[in-house]
Amino acid sequence: MVQDLLLPILKHEQKKSGYISEAAIKRISIQTGIPVSRIFGVATFYSMFHTKPQGKNMIEVCHGPSCHLNGSFNVLKSLYKSLKIKPGETTKDKKFSLHTCSCIGCCDKGPAMLLNGKQYTLLDETKLKAIIKKCRS
């Protein structure tokens, strides 16, 4: 079934261009016969797909209960201070994108986040500043 192949196709597209553009959705629709509205629905349902261009560095802050109690909101606050973006947004220079995600399994070392898939735990403001500075250079 073509419908079953939609997820692998979208995954490939996400890997290739960093996001799933409108043009890509139309192209996939022509190739597979799946309606564009359905493809867009699937692409917006899964948090691993993005329908807008993303920054070079992807920050995903865990907002699971444990990290929340350990102050994941403070992480978001200090990230807003240094990057001026809220969850779901991308910096103007296209260097950083910020998202929140569900538990990443670091409940003992919260608050935690993923930067380009790599875990960073026991975060505080100084640690974050150092990480951002390293990415910028």
């Binding site: 629709s29 309606p35 564009v36 493809i39 629905g41 917006t44 329908t51």
Partner: protein, 557 residues
């Protein structure tokens, strides 16, 4: 299979859901998301029952041997109440809470829910288009519009996007409806149980035109409006209210009340002649009818190869609108600019059609059947007590062939009646083409035209249209209607429009046709007069200029 239903032992057939069983036995269970003819999705969670002491949704659960079903208990009531309250939280922001306007508020009143403790989470902008408006502030995400658009119409203009409490119904990339391939058929309007999708109203403009003494306001009514309008005023389904409707329109101050059926007869003359011409020249076949504006938009979006197959005739109300501003205006000595033409249609796509640049000048405003009922109510006219009146001359006389335009297969039948007689010169013995009648999605048949067998096909409903197009080359003449069962099931018809109601309306239409003395379009004396005085002959240069149109290619997304 033996089951216990509310402490009573009963025998039931296998393969039926608990909801079906309860319905057959007259036990009422509230439900919002069930879609006639499609598989249950169990999204609204209002149809709860107890199966062996466990709460289940009755629409999607099948009973098993010896099980015990309870349809009313304090537990069910409690959970149903909570579910309804949560649905209302999504819906309440812009709703006027009128129990007669849609299903959800009706159920709320029935189960006695009075206080809603939750506030809506999101605030949305309305999606405005020329014909259909979507208000996400009322939407409860039941998904019925998506199923109507996808499974019934096969258009897929809308789908769910996002996830969790951000989930909502939207066209792709959060475009507006008029930027995507939406054919404006309005089937989503009928599917919606909460009144979140409705037509764009033009009542204000029409009332202003009526007040303006300089304007000569002409109104015309479609064939399928007269068999449905009565429902809005408590008359039984399938009552024909032609006379009362004309009287009401005249009472409201319309200067002339014309009949779209006249336009339908004219369409048959033009289309029949075009078809005979194609038979003579050997193609291109199949010729496809163009009375349905939603089908036209469907073709322009998805089927660009069909352009040479399409008849070039305008739809009946555009033809009549054009004649009102040319033939009629000349006759009574009025300036074209002072005439306002209002069409009463069962259709939301006609609203879009009247904004097309090439047709803009013919009809000014289109009102749906529901809007007309609203207008009659605002003028405080009691429809039931009015005396029957007749349409005005010269564009008010019609035949039985025009009345059946309202049902699927009607255009085909009417065209065949005329094409046969004009093509062979013989008189048709039996004018009833039973092969073209009925509520089936696809109907086929054949007719002998002077030794030549003409194969015809009729499709209604978008999914059936796609099915028929796959084997279109077998046929010579095809009628397409976007809405299931044709205009009587149109997006502008009164609520509710379901299979049972549509059947009643269809019976009324064919009974009305039988009551006519003249049942073939070319026998209409006013049509004969029109050709003699104004147009010349069917398919003449003047007729082509006034009554025919062309189509545009549109993006398929």
């Amino acid at each position: 299979m033996q089951i216990t239903l509310d402490k009573r032992q009963i025998k039931v057939e296998e393969g039926k859901t608990i909801l079906d069983i309860c319905k057959e036995r007259g036990i009422e269970i509230p439900t919002l998301c069930i879609f006639e003819g499609l598989k249950p999705e169990a999204r609204c969670r209002l149809c709860l029952v107890e199966l062996n002491g466990k709460l289940v949704t009755s629409c999607s659960t099948y009973p098993h041997e010896g099980c015990e079903v309870v349809t009313d208990s304090p537990l069910i009531k409690k959970h149903r109440m909570i579910n309804a309250e949560l649905l209302m939280a999504d819906h309440i922001a812009t709703c006027n809470m009128d129990p007669n306007s849609h299903d959800l508020c009706k159920i709320i009143e029935k189960i006695g829910l009075t206080r809603i403790r939750f506030d809506p989470i999101h605030k949305y902008k309305q999606d405005l288009s020329e014909s259909v408006i979507r208000d996400d502030n009322k939407c409860i995400n039941c998904g019925k519009c998506i199923r109507a658009c996808g499974e019934i119409m096969d258009v897929h203009a809308i789908d769910f996007i996002n996830r969790g409490h951000n989930e909502k119904v939207s066209p792709y990339s959060e475009h507006k409806l008029h930027d995507v391939a939406c054919i404006k058929c309005g089937q989503c309007v009928h599917a919606c149980p909460v009144g979140a999708i409705y037509e764009r109203e033009h009542l204000y403009e029409v009332v202003q035109a009526l007040k303006d003494k300089k304007k000569h306001v002409i109104v015309q009514t479609a064939p399928s409006v007269r068999v449905a309008l009565g429902e809005e005023f408590g008359m039984p389904q399938g009552s024909i209210v032609t006379g009362k409707m004309v009287a009401a329109l005249r009472k409201m101050g319309f200067d002339k009340v014309f009949d779209t059926n006249f336009g339908a007869d004219l369409t048959i003359m033009e289309e029949g002649t075009e078809f005979l011409k194609r038979v003579k020249n050997g193609g291109p076949f199949p010729m496809i009818t163009t009375c349905c504006p939603a089908w036209i938009k469907f073709m322009e979006h998805f089927e660009h190869k069909l352009f040479p197959n399409m008849s070039t005739c305008k739809s009946p109300h555009e033809m009549l609108g054009n004649l009102a501003k040319s033939y009629y205006a000349d006759k009574v000595g009025l300036n074209k600019k002072d005439i306002v033409v209002v069409s009463i249609m069962p259709c939301t796509a006609k609203k879009f059609e009247s904004t097309r640049p090439e047709l803009k000048s013919d009809v000014d405003y289109v009102l749906t059947t529901r809007e007309l009922a609203k207008l009659i109510r605002t003028y405080k006219i009691d429809m039931t007590k009015l005396k029957d009146e007749k349409f005005d001359d010269p564009l008010g006389e019609s035949t039985g062939a025009a009345l059946i335009f309202g049902a699927t297969g009607g255009v085909m039948e009417a065209a065949l009646r005329t094409a046969y007689e004009l093509g062979t010169g013989k008189t048709l013995k039996d004018v009833d083409f039973m092969a073209a009648r009925g509520t089936d999605g696809i109907k086929t048949g054949s007719v002998d035209l002077d030794g030549k067998t003409i194969k015809f096909a009729v499709a209604s409903g978008g999914a059936n249209i796609r099915k028929l197009l796959k084997e279109k080359d077998k046929y010579h003449f095809i009628e397409m209607m976007a809405c299931p069962s044709g205009c009587i099931g149109g997006g502008g018809q009164p609520w509710p429009t379901n299979k049972a109601v549509i059947k009643k309306r269809m019976e009324a239409i064919y009974a009305g046709d039988k009551g006519f003395k003249l049942r073939k379009s070319h026998e209409n004396p006013s049509i004969k007069k029109l050709y003699k005085e104004f147009l010349g002959e069917p398919g003449s240069e003047r007729a082509h200029k006034l009554l025919h149109t062309h189509y545009h290619k549109r993006d398929r997304f």
